[in-house]
Amino acid sequence: MNIVETTELSKIYSGKAAVNGVSMHIPEGSIYGFVGENGSGKTTIMRLLTGLATPSKGSFTLFGVKNNEMKIYAARKQISAIVEATSLVPSMTAIDNIIYQENYLGVKLKKEERMELLKIVHLDQTGKKKVKNFSLGMRQRLGIAMALMNKPKLMLLDEPLNGLDPQGIAELRDLLIEINKNEGITILISSHILSELEKIATTYGFISHGRLIEEVTVDELQNRCRKSTTINVEDVKKAEEVITKEGIKDYKAFPNGDIIVYDDIDIGEFISNLYKNKIKIHTVNSSDESVEEYYLNLVKGE
């Protein structure tokens, strides 16, 4: 089941489309990595989903509730979000900010639960220090703690890794994986640090110039990005026999003649063996892409 679905969603500012006919699908329980350049429309989509902006065209559903239904307010109570910047009252302490948010969320936490939240993000020792004296990373972490407060079913995180040091990034990454697995929270996360996104995302949405170019699962993407050798042969069955004889285990064969070999092989020797077995080879390609390279290749033509 998809927890979020958009249909031809568009947002137009001064005649220019910031989001242009986006149809995206966020599966329940996934960590959806939102990848796109600055101004590609990632934040605008999050703003539309959270009600901060209204769509110019198209629609979306949250937990199956359409955006123009009155029930959308109740549906939004199941989400939490950090969009653009963490929203905190600077003249209050971390704990006071949590209590303040509890009030308008209609949530009542125990003292220990509040401390537990702060402990998760390593802010339990901040005491009476006001938020205005926090570093950017501390504010970011407090925002995450506050986003976890209402035990949401969906979290929307816009560049949450910004301003965090390497240790902070690693901790937040682990935290997101943990809450996704243990609490079953679906996460929509955008980040410029694709190497980090690669470590946590289970589904990707690639967006450029307001248009969603591709939506892929991590398995699909891995298949596309893994170091592999793709050979297109005339007789797939015969080629498979040779491959098995060679002791190659990790490969996939397709009816169109493509065989993708993921094992580390000596390409020259492999081709030579196929040739010896009179298997006609049409093409041979090697690939070794990261998500970043994959994305860059994807948007090259945009």
Binding site: T50, R76, K77, V83, A85, Y104, L105
Partner: protein, 279 residues
């Protein structure tokens, strides 16, 4: 709505802006009291009494009414700039509820602050000069002794004051919601309140300006202004004298006009808030 009210009350307790507002309310009452004490300390009969100070701080457009807009506007703009409004929307509150709660709670908060200002003024004045020891009227200092306790006048002044304070709070809330920035908002609202006061004082002075009589009905601050035109037509000479009472007509028009303005400000603030995206 209940959750938003709880959040507002918590913020009032914890936030620096609301603490400053409270300090202003007390400081203003102390200021008026101190000023009167200084000027009229030796006057006989006593002028600096509980009744006088209460009447003084009860005139909303001349006292707290000028401080309040800055406080309310700062608080509302703060809600936008810190992203609290954004959080409230994300938390599943409708924009209608958010604006209405902000509007109503600001009005209530303004009444409370105004009330604190009045109580402090009344107490300080009474401690020094008694509430009404020599029968000095509320505005005896302006012209002459009234000789009696002006209960009805005081009562009407306070009620009108509350209505006007709500109207000023509404004006500040709406402007702050529209501009979402303290910069243009505070000067506009303070100048507007100041103009309201100036108009209420100058209206009766216009030569043969009876056409202004109608306009006075639309100025809620007018009824609380202790000035009336000398009823000699064609004469520039006007006499300032104190009213022993505020007429029913003046009083009613003040309440009606301030209520109508409050509703207008609510609508004027609400519509753009519903239509515009939040940053």
């Amino acid at each position: 709505m209940f959750n938003l009210t709880k959040a507002f009350l918590f913020k009032v307790r914890k936030d620096a802006a609301s603490k400053t507002a409270l300090i202003f309310a007390v400081a203003l009452a102390v200021f008026f009291w101190g000023l009167f004490l200084l000027i009229y300390s030796k006057s006989e009969p006593k002028i600096c009494t509980g009744q006088t100070i209460l009447a003084l701080v009860s005139t909303p457009t001349q006292g707290y009414g000028l401080v309040l807009p800055a406080i309310i506007a700062t608080m509302v703009v703060g809600e936008f700039s810190t992203g609290v409004i954004r959080n409230k929307v994300i938390a599943g509150n409708s924009k209608f509820k958010i604006f209405t709660s902000l509007f109503v709670l600001n009005a209530i908060y303004s009444i409370v602050l105004y009330g604190i200002c009045m109580v402090v003024g009344l107490l300080l004045g009474t401690i020094v000069g008694g509430f009404n020891p020599n029968g000095i009227g509320v505005v005896g200092l302006m012209t002459f002794m009234m000789g009696t306790f002006a209960g009805e006048l005081l009562g009407r002044l306070v009620i009108m004051g509350f209505f006007i304070i709500v109207m000023i709070s509404a004006f500040a809330t709406s402007l702050a919601t529209i501009f979402r920035s303290v910069g243009p908002c505070i000067p506009i609202v303070i100048i507007s309140v100041f103009l309201l006061t100036i108009l209420s004082i100058t209206m009766p002075y216009s030569k043969g300006g009876y056409y202004l009589d109608g306009l006075t009905k639309f100025n809620p601050a007018f009824a609380g202004c202790f000035v009336e035109r000398e009823p000699f037509e064609g004469d520039w000479y006007m006499v300032m004298y104190s009213n022993l009472f505020i007429s029913d007509e003046r009083f009613n028009w003040s309440l009606i006009s301030s209520s109508v303005y409050t509703v207008i400000f609510y609508v004027v603030g609400l519509i753009p808030f519903l239509k515009r995206d939040l940053k």
